[in-house]
Amino acid sequence: MRLFETTDTGSVEIEIGEDLQARLEELAERNRQLFAERGIRAFDITGSVGAGKTSLIAGMVERLSGKHGVAVIAGDVATTHDAERVAGKGARKVLQINTGGMCHLDASLVARALGQLPESGIDVLFIENVGNLICPSFFSLGAEKRIAVVSASEGSHVIEKHPAMFESADVVVLNKMDIAEAVNVDMEQPVADLEKVRPGIPVVKTNCRTGEGVDDVLLALELG
């Protein structure tokens, strides 16, 4: 509803009332509906560059593709490396989105990519977000759950430093547990920090290189 208020200075003040946050929420909700309509369970995987998102997804695809039609959308500023790594693990379709400079995926980019997935036969979708623990926090993709991946080499205070990301996450994966000692990082610190800010949030320790812990991630996501 636009209201007019006239002024004596040769201008009018217009009420615009455009709620940009609501618009973002609407886009996410539209994706939720699209996924539901197509029977797709979608998961948003976030984490810093090199945390292990792609490795985790590759491991999950490998374990699920016998019983599920799995697709992967990989988001990156540049290159198709991530998509290439996952291809050949059994996914029905692997798509790369190059964001062209944007530091996060958003619901509209994902909606567009959905159009390139097969009409049927996909019931699980892993969306690998751009490597970044800050920006994706503000943009919901409309996925069923968000998995935040943290790796030992990022230090022990990652949780504290990125409050919005861990507030928006549903499952946290602590990866590269095998090198924690080598990089002198106490991985009980993030566990404790998560318990403080998100009591009860599932936390799974993994070594995605060997696959250790990936089954537990699938359990936490109720994927079997």
């Binding site: 007019f4 003040e13 009332g17 800050i134 503000f138």
Partner: protein, 132 residues
């Protein structure tokens, strides 16, 4: 963070409204921006002004009303404004917030993430006061 893309959205919204109301120059814009968005006001202003200038509204004035963070306690249900020490960005205090009533650290954010284009003042050269 993302000030440029937000500026694009803001200016797009205002420019459309201006076109609907005679297409005159935009004099000023009022925005409501929640402090938990981590948006740098100066950067946002810079980009909105730059876009406005590009599109024929040079010198537009931006008023940014900061909306404080608001949290609701999951424990006792108390709701209130998020208060942080001077010099701390509210976003970074989120991990350490405590309910003022019961001391619980489990709170939900219920305000402070706003991003609204509220009003715009548009010139009406050659039109009477009723915009006709």
């Amino acid at each position: 963070m993302h000030e440029y893309s937000i500026a694009l959205e803001v200016w797009g919204s205002v420019a459309a409204a201006a076109r609907e109301h005679g297409g005159g120059r935009v004099r000023s814009i009022r925005l409501e921006v929640g402090v938990l968005n981590l948006i740098e006001d100066e950067q946002l202003s810079f980009w909105v002004v730059a876009l406005a200038e590009r599109d024929g509204s040079p010198g537009v004035e931006l008023e940014i009303v900061q909306v404080p963070g608001r949290v609701k306690c999951r424990g006792c249900g108390a709701e209130g404004e998020l208060r942080v020490p001077q010099g701390t960005l509210p976003y970074f205090a989120m991990g350490a917030v405590r309910c003022a009533e019961c001391g619980s650290g489990e709170v939900d954010v219920v305000g402070g993430r706003d991003l609204k284009v509220v009003t715009a003042e548009i010139e009406t050269e050659g039109r009477n006061g009723r915009g006709e």
